[in-house]
């Protein structure tokens, strides 16, 4: 019984990892590649570590390690993806040719890389941003 559940978690996790790698290879631009790897990769890794925790069921040390790995993956994957995507956007990587909308266009202050509010206009005529608030 345990073998069936462990095998199920293992194979589903490996399948999600495969989908993540396939998306990384096939997607056309950086945000879509991040979209593929971050979510599917984190889910696949978490499922495989859950399989390990179920195989050694009752061992508190293994369960604690498995929980720590899962929490760490789920906690850090979105932060890393956000940082890399932000860096790629600042560098000015080209988007996919069929991208419909870029809502961040002209919203970033190019000097100090601060995101402007929707009401704020440009950045040149307002050098002192703290006083405007």
């Amino acid at each position: 019984m345990t073998d069936v559940v462990v095998s199920l978690f293992l194979l589903i996790g490996a399948g999600f990892m495969f989908v993540a790698a396939l998306g990384l290879l096939r997607m056309p631009d950086l945000p879509m590649r991040l979209h593929a790897t971050t979510k599917a990769g984190a889910l696949g890794g978490g499922l495989m570590v859950i399989a390990v925790g179920l195989e050694f069921f009752g061992d508190v040390a293994v369960a604690a390690r498995a929980a720590a790995i899962i929490i760490f993956i789920v906690l850090t994957a979105p932060i890393a993806a956000h940082l890399i995507g932000r860096a790629g956007y600042f560098v000015g990587l080209p988007m996919w040719s069929k991208t419909l909308k870029d809502e961040l266009k002209d919203r970033y202050d190019p000097q100090n890389q601060v995101l402007l509010s929707p009401g704020e206009v440009s950045s040149e005529d307002k050098p002192d941003r703290d006083k405007a608030e």
Partner: protein, 91 residues
């Protein structure tokens, strides 16, 4: 039952690692390669999980934990490098 699924998982993860390596080689820009590196780290965590199952040595889970932590730090460092203007050549 479990041996077969462990073997199948090894095969699937190896194919995924190959696909990720292709993206790492052909990736048109540095951020794409950083994404591929992070994916390789996640895949290695999966490999370690499968190997923990097949060998029965639970001490490998510590390695997986440290690897996940190090991969996150590497991604943060690379993102900082890209944001500060390194690694990209402006003509």
């Amino acid at each position: 039952m479990l041996e077969v699924s462990i073997f199948v998982s090894y095969v699937i993860l190896s194919i995924a690692l190959g696909l990720t390596f292709v993206r790492l080689v052909i990736g048109p820009s540095l951020p794409d390669r950083v994404v591929a590196l992070e994916m390789i780290a996640t895949l290695t965590v999966g490999f370690i999980a499968v190997y923990t199952l097949s060998s029965g040595v639970t001490a490998f889970l510590d390695v997986a934990m440290v690897l996940a932590l190090t991969a996150f730090l590497a991604a943060v460092g690379f993102a900082r490098l890209i944001t500060k203007g390194g690694g990209v050549h402006h003509d």
